[in-house]
Point group: C3
Chain length 244, copies 3
């Protein structure tokens, strides 16, 4: 399974070209769109999202992960193996949370460039080709060189900020909810959020937090738009005060 995680948007003709390239290079492989609305230009938020979503896909999945404002500059592309899954991405930190959190991580730098290379669409011209080869079971060793580590690494702990707003207005944070007791005080932008297990168990219009379906602390409102109501956007800091 090849899983797409990009900021290419869903309106635009980029994903289709990517899929055409994948279909040519790895015919018959299932391609799943995970997210094409990763926060634009924001590899840091993207890195935390990718780390949270990856475990919901089968081991052996190949992720094509592109949030790449540095495309066309000297930044490298990398292949990462972490947690039994593969990631093909720019070396701008996007895969770094995954690498840091998995003991089995391995990193390879992509040395290869195709003859026909656009300056702005390495997702199609480089990463898709590499991902297709891995998905076919033909590891492209000749195009890669193993590295001790990534060039760009983000801090591997939780990110206490909003990292994604979904279309319901719910705000994902980069905080793993497992470590947050339900009696903690959670706040963002001067508003407090109580814990609730499910949307319908919370009063209409009242902010609450819960452990979402990928294990992140998420801020929401029952039948309301939390981001608008509380002024949350990607990057908004989130405060968690655990009980004594």
């Amino acid at each position: 399974m090849i899983v797409l995680f990009t900021d290419y948007g869903i309106y635009d003709p980029y994903v289709g070209q990517l899929k055409a390239r994948l279909a040519t290079e790895a015919p018959g492989q299932l391609v799943v769109d995970l997210l094409h609305a990763a926060p634009d230009f924001n590899a840091h938020a993207g890195a935390h999202l990718l780390a949270a979503f990856a475990p919901t896909f089968p081991p052996g999945s190949v992720f094509l992960a592109v949030v790449d404002p540095g495309v066309g500059t000297a930044r490298h592309g990398v292949v990462v193996m972490a947690g039994g899954r593969w990631f093909v991405a720019p070396d701008n930190g996007l895969a770094s949370i995954l690498v840091a959190r998995h003991a089995d991580s391995k990193v390879w730098r992509i040395d290869w460039l195709p003859v026909a290379l656009s300056s702005t669409f390495h997702g199609r011209d480089v990463f898709a080709v590499i991902a297709a080869e891995i998905a076919r079971g033909e590891f492209p060793a000749a195009k890669l060189s193993e590295c001790a580590k990534l060039e760009v690494e983000f801090e591997a702990g939780d990110l206490a900020r909003v990292i994604y707003i979904d279309h319901f207005g719910n705000a994902f944070t980069g905080i793993r909810a497992q470590t947050v007791p339900v009696t903690s005080r959670v706040a963002a932008n001067h508003s407090e959020f109580m814990h609730a297990e499910a949307f319908a168990l919370c009063d209409k219009g009242k902010g609450f937090w819960f452990s979402n379906s990928v294990g992140l602390l998420e801020l929401a409102v029952n039948r309301g738009h939390a981001a608008s109501q509380f002024g949350l956007s990607v990057g908004t800091p989130v405060q968690v005060q655990k009980p004594y």
Copy 2:
């Protein structure tokens, strides 16, 4: 064929997780996105949309239908067979128009819950698994119990309201157009709409109604945005006065 009908949105990482689950549980099954912009939290509008669209898919298709503001509460999930097609949905009325309109309808309640169950994503954790089993041809009888009827039922007649606005600004109503003579007076929000067969046959900027491609009465404007021009939104009442 597994057909997806949800309010998960197309931007967000929910559909991708659903598809990964379906691919794991029913490898090789075609999955078609019908609609991920079903009106949020609105099972009533969704029920009329689903009933109108279902017949355009082949008999035997399995619909995974999720508009589910009650997720995480005591509401049940159901499996419905109606008109030769399968529907897996929450028991909140979403499948009730289909059940009422088909003489062959059967209803089963989903008794099963997986060990790993999120509180907010039963689409992925429960409904996708059941839908995949039906699509594989392995009816999951042990996870279901047959019921005489649904717990939540909407009135089976036409719904004389706007139930969907498409990106052109055209407004679907819950009125089946077959029963509406072309000389009827049709109005919404104090504006009248004449009948026309096709967009280009109507004056630019003038509102008209027609029988759309799934048989519903639809309000539109040639090369214009009917919803903005006439102040229509999901829920706006529509008046139809048939000729004597």
Copy 3:
């Protein structure tokens, strides 16, 4: 491979119905979404986009191209072979740039109409069926008649206007960049754009132009939204003054 190029939008239930029809008529064929946000009602911009994107897909691909404000009127449907690829489209100019630019072009008019024909969704009812037959390798000669030329033809040269705005705010023009020296003066809406090879090589907030991944001259801003910043929209004229 069947490639979809439409103005059906990505929110709406049109693409899903199209895919269900394709799956019924051509089981097992890969269907790729290239673009469903082709400028509404604008066959001219669409024609230039389609001509630019087509070569990025494998020879033999079948494009289902629908930007069709005249649906339900007397306009014909056509099948076009150009550059080794197939196109099924309304005869409103949408395929005319492709025809004009390829020496091997052939044109057939679609004479066939199905018994069950909606007035507004010929994409599903007519074009999908024809495209599926071609994709299956069964050219539907009995439903077509060969023509010397299209009924509607746009001028085959470059279109010096904005033809698409992507979600980053970048503005595609209908100008093929290969013929534009990098020292040319490029302007739109009273703003000048310098040439740059890649986003990150340009100062933040400064407008620049580059040859995009399908060879069109594109206007952009590093980490900014060019369309908002410079007031660009589909149709905005673009001036190119080549150096002496």
